[in-house]
């Protein structure tokens, strides 16, 4: 009886597999295919962007659970909104902007309800543990408007113009906030070193 249950059912479709045509396509080509209802193209976009989106949301919200929800909601919103995406902007900027808005919503909700954040930010790269924690502590201590610019430009790797579009800020504001964020981080790390 158990052997019968483990046999594959004939009506079930085989699991979706990536193929070269999807993997080699550009973001815009994949987005157009996804806008036409191609789920495998959208899945490839999810694979490409999930780490950057999660990093962005995590460093803004400072909570793994909130970051997870932001990315998940953002990607589902993107799937729903792909039909109206005009393709006159880059797909990356568009998806960053969606997730940043979700993260801002979390911060706003947290500010209204004063939810405590007691999670430690996750890291993935091996480096001297103390220095890493110092830098992440200093980053977490920045005000959100400076932190988000530093994360967008220095961690995720957006250009100034891309960050300006994704964060809905003037390019000059992004430049000045990035400069001040780096200066504050340098100052915080220098103070930490002197204290130690």
């Amino acid at each position: 009886m158990q052997d019968v249950l483990t046999l594959p059912l004939p009506g079930l479709a085989p699991p979706r597999a990536y193929h070269g045509r999807v993997q080699n396509a550009s973001d815009e080509v994949l987005a157009r295919r996804a806008a036409d209802g191609d789920e495998s193209a959208f899945e490839e976009l999810v694979v490409r962007y999930q780490d950057r989106l999660y990093t962005l949301a995590l460093r803004i919200t400072l909570s793994e659970a909130d970051a997870y929800d932001c990315v998940q909601e953002g990607l589902v919103s993107a799937w729903r909104g792909l039909g109206s995406f005009r393709f006159n902007a880059r797909f990356s900027t568009w998806i960053y902007r969606i997730v940043v808005r979700k993260a801002y919503d979390v911060l706003e909700r947290r500010g209204r309800t004063a939810e405590p954040v007691d999670e430690v930010p996750a890291t993935s790269v091996d480096s001297p543990a103390e220095a890493r924690l110092d830098l992440l502590d200093a980053l977490s201590a920045l005000e959100p408007e400076f932190r988000v610019v530093a994360v967008a430009c220095d961690v995720v790797g957006m250009s100034m113009d891309e960050a300006a579009i994704a964060l809905d800020l003037p390019a000059g504001t992004v430049k000045s906030r990035l400069h001040r964020a780096r200066a504050r981080l340098a100052e915080a790390l220098r103070t930490e070193t002197e204290t130690a």
């Binding site: 209802g37 999930q50 780490d51 990093t55 589902v76 792909l82 830098l135 981080l185 340098a186």
Partner: protein, 172 residues
């Protein structure tokens, strides 16, 4: 200061990046597959393309109207437009009075738009002096075309008679 900032940027790039949980992709795709497929909104046709289409249609329509206006259906009443009727009636009145008329060159018939007078004047119409000058002033190729068309119209009219669109064709 700038070197310090570059060092901060490099450290942020190396140390502050995070990896998404493995179940994130599966959860997202599970929800995506439960959603209806997106309906892609096609961009509307641009103003330039619409204007070009309207302009081309207007040009074709104008060419058709112009071509139809140049077709000689035979008979003065059929070929003369409403705007030309008054002028041609004046010319006919002048012709009936024989006031200062001149005879057109041989082979020229200018009965288009005028009352048909085949026998009375032997196929030759009498032109006012100003009309004759206007005809001479036409460039030679165009004049040849006009004369050729008019010389062709007379035998056709004699062979088949004038075509009256309001009556049954009176073919012999």
């Amino acid at each position: 200061m700038s070197g310090n900032h570059d060092d901060i940027a490099a450290r942020l790039r190396d140390e502050a990046s995070a990896t998404a949980p493995e179940r994130l992709r599966a959860d997202v795709m599970l929800r995506v597959r439960a959603e209806p497929r997106p309906q892609r909104i096609r961009p509307t046709r641009s103003f330039g393309r619409s204007f070009a289409a309207v302009a081309v249609a207007a040009c074709i329509l104008g060419a058709m109207v112009f071509g139809l206006s140049r077709v000689d259906f035979g008979g003065g009443s059929a070929s003369g437009g409403a705007g030309a009727t008054a002028a041609h009636e004046k010319a006919a009145a002048r012709l009936s009075g024989n006031a200062g008329g001149v005879v057109a060159p041989p082979g020229t018939t200018v009965t288009r738009g005028l009352p048909y007078q085949p026998a009375a004047q032997g196929g030759k119409a009498v032109l006012a002096p100003d009309q004759a000058q206007r005809l001479e002033a036409v460039p030679r190729p165009l004049r040849a075309a006009i004369l050729g068309r008019y010389s062709l119209a007379t035998p056709l009219r004699e062979a088949f008679g004038a075509i009256d669109p309001h009556q049954v064709p009176n073919r012999r």
